[in-house]
Symmetry: D2
């Protein structure tokens, strides 16, 4: 239903994150299972940091998909909260979706979900805020 | 002041995270700068997900260092909030410290900080909660 | 569409919170505007703490409405994150809804929204986790 | 050690919050125990919303005490996370302290703690971010 597009962040590539060209307002990524993403070698469960990185990525992409977003703007993650609902299933691909549900002049509000089969049976959920700014007045706050 | 010790998580190794044997109750990690950890190739700034993964790692280690923690217990990240204060400095090593400031029968409360030179000038801060449980009654919730 | 029911918490009564008997899985409260709930006397805008208290209340009620919830269980708020999207409108009633989207043996995960006219135009949103336990083994963690 | 000063918010007055003129950079409030603040009439434990309102208040005051804060600026709570560590003790006064540990051009970062006897034995802890702006360009986001 969605077609893979190029991923540009070096760390996103190292994680193997694939961005999909989702026709809805939601951003959609997939993370194929790989040994170097494992947090617990006994169980083979993905590291929480992988899930968080993918949720952070998807959240940023959701802001860029919002109709009110000006492509000249700078954007920086201000804060992110992740709730870990259940362990990721070993050897299963992780799907991550996010939507920007509100954008003001300075702040974008985003929620995300990571899952295998259905967003209604999540591995993790997230909420985050992103600072927006002009390139001539770069933000001090932010992670990128 | 602190001596590097072996890192066991495959994803931690892929990120190049080094665990230090800190004599204080705080857990201490370092993340040497590397190209595959970059979020923005133009600026060379680390990906937010790297910082989050390191804060999550350090937070878990802080729980294991707490005197009330029973080594037979299972532990799982329940939730984590990251505040991104300023971009990481390109080419600089990231230092991450965490402390478990309260542990109850079921939950451990942890705060963390990521920085270059001083914890008083943070790149990011975190708070998180971890579920604790017995091996015979494994948690359903959690990321590991 | 929903019929007011009795509110039992003294602080909920002091705030004037009205619980509605919503036929859906979502809990629904309303907070009629009142002078003693104001945070900024110049603008007449509600205090953020009122919004948070109502979101906390609605979140707890959402857990109690979940089909997996055992009425014999104890419940305690473990943590709550509130995002404030826009100021509440002075003199307008606040509506607060919450849903428990996942429940495990020990933890319930809840999201909430506060608004005037439509949940799609929120004043604030929330996510929270609640600890569940048996009455014979009361939790140490928790706010009630 | 600290002397009570006038409290100006109507809701703060309704809660009975007392602001203290703390000589340190930390803001300090107290909330005397009162029946209308109770969440659970069986136990007499304070409602979580009271603790949150007090932490939100103290956090805002901590921003105003920061040397980099321009008194002409507008301020609005952007988001707040509360961790509830243990129930408040019935009939005991609640003490709430907060410090603004970092301020950038647009955002202030604050942490807070609520306790009875010692900040090292907390009832609840908080982290929050506050948007800063000029009066001529008021924020859209925010709770006050």
């Amino acid at each position: 239903m969605t077609e893979p597009v190029q991923m540009q962040s070096p760390h996103g590539e190292a994680l193997g994150i694939v961005t999909h060209d989702n026709p809805t307002p939601r951003a959609r990524l997939t993370v194929p299972y790989a040994e170097h993403l494992v947090g617990d070698p006994d169980s083979g469960v993905l590291h929480g940091g992988v899930i968080t990185a993918a949720l952070d990525n998807a959240s940023g992409q959701a802001v860029r998909k919002h109709p009110s977003w000006d492509t000249e703007q700078m954007m920086a993650t201000l804060d992110l909260r992740i709730d870990y609902i259940k362990p990721a299933t070993p050897h299963a691909e992780l799907v991550v979706e996010a939507e920007c549900y509100k954008i003001t002049r300075n702040v974008a509000f985003v929620r995300g979900v990571a899952f295998h089969d259905s967003a209604d049976d999540p591995v993790a959920t997230s909420v985050g805020t992103f600072m927006l700014g002009t390139r001539s007045t770069p933000r001090e706050a932010g992670s990128r």
